[in-house]
Symmetry: C2
Subunit: 236 residues, 2 copies
């Protein structure tokens, strides 16, 4: 109801996810508001803790986590405090236990099925990327509008025509969509994903997309990352 900036939407830059569900009339369940930067750091802590466990470390203090992530130790403790108490005063944190807690907090105890749209270079790379399945993100179907690509397979995943998306997800029930198409096609693809029941979208297209409230969007723009580097380079 203000004339100035009424563009409210679920865009997400490298640094901010906007969730429509949160700002409206959300009433209960989450009593404490958790800062978005906290959520992003939680993933970094988890990464660090996984690495510590792989290195055979059994117990770690908040300052060790700080060292491994580049994040302030007090910040780590404060972030964790939004979710509970996981450490032992005088001792620190049990690495395996902390990993389990962080995984659960991030919703990683469940398997996530993913639809990929766009089988170009980036899409192809994502189909080859082992990091996703390692963390429980499984690309269960891939789609493209290019009839040259439809019918072929990449790393064992068959490429279907985009028109098959809704029908296929009626049985697959994937909740996450990855958009790896050009800027021109992005919004249309997003609309199809949402219509097919997808609840969260990772957008690699270099354009801001609109979704209805309740759908979570994150935007990853590789070029933008380069541009930010360029900015800091420029001053030299």
């Amino acid at each position: 109801m203000r004339p100035d900036g009424k563009s409210k939407k679920n865009e997400v830059g490298e640094a901010n996810v906007v969730m429509h569900a949160a700002t409206g009339g959300e009433s209960e369940s989450t009593l404490v508001k958790i800062p978005q930067p906290t959520i992003e750091r939680m993933s970094a802590y988890l990464q660090c803790v996984r690495n510590l466990r792989l290195d055979g470390v059994v117990t770690a203090s908040s300052s060790q986590i700080a060292e491994g992530t580049g994040i302030n130790a007090a910040q780590f403790r404060k972030d964790l405090s939004y979710f509970g108490e996981f450490g032992t005063p005088g001792l620190g944190y049990d690495v395996a236990e902390l990993e389990a807690h962080l995984s659960r907090i991030m919703g990683l105890d469940a398997r996530h099925d993913v639809l990929l749209v766009g089988a170009g270079n980036l899409g192809s790379a994502l189909l080859h990327y082992s990091g996703f399945p390692q963390r429980g993100f499984h690309i269960v179907a891939a789609f493209d509008s290019d009839s040259e690509k439809v019918g072929t397979s990449i790393n064992g995943t068959r490429i279907h025509h985009i028109d098959e998306l809704a029908r296929m997800n009626a049985t697959l029930n994937a909740q996450v969509g990855v958009v790896a198409v050009t800027r021109a096609g992005a919004q249309e693809v997003v609309d199809k994903l949402v219509a097919a029941g997808v609840q969260a979208i990772l957008n690699f297209a270099p354009v801001s997309i609109l979704v209805r409230p309740g759908i979570v969007v994150r935007h990853v723009d590789l070029t933008s990352q380069m541009e930010v580097l360029s900015y800091y380079l420029r001053a030299k």
Copy 2:
């Protein structure tokens, strides 16, 4: 904007970028501290303005930019105000002119040469990615430690052994390095890039890396992006 005589240094938080700015006396007018989120948004504005120009739009108001980026209109005007005055009251912004200003501010009026380390799936995708050269980021050499890959070419770029890095950059003088290797090799690669004269690094390895002051690092972790989506999904 009124430049006060404050020579406050460009300090950057640990969110995504770790930057140790040398902060010598700067010739340009930028003596005011510019928030890091502002820099990230500048890239989003530029993207939007490019899209507007491609769509034939000649003039745009701050609220139109807001619509195209999902960022508040007042925020846009405030962000721009750190760098100067680029609009016309009562009218808005000339799209072409604004694009030129934003490009210059981001240091995109110069060509940037890039070294890529890691010719696996991700490295290969980056070599195929057209977005980089389109914006003036040219991968001038690629490196890997796998002797199977050394000597082959990807999309016209030859893969060299990592030990050639320093020698080759003595003539290439690239300032930007992209790290697309595994977590175990990342820090070593970063050290080699820095030793070879690289000033800025885009890190795709899922680990925090250390650099000496003056070197800019940005970390992109695709899995982390997915994990954040997972978090917001979990609440449903």
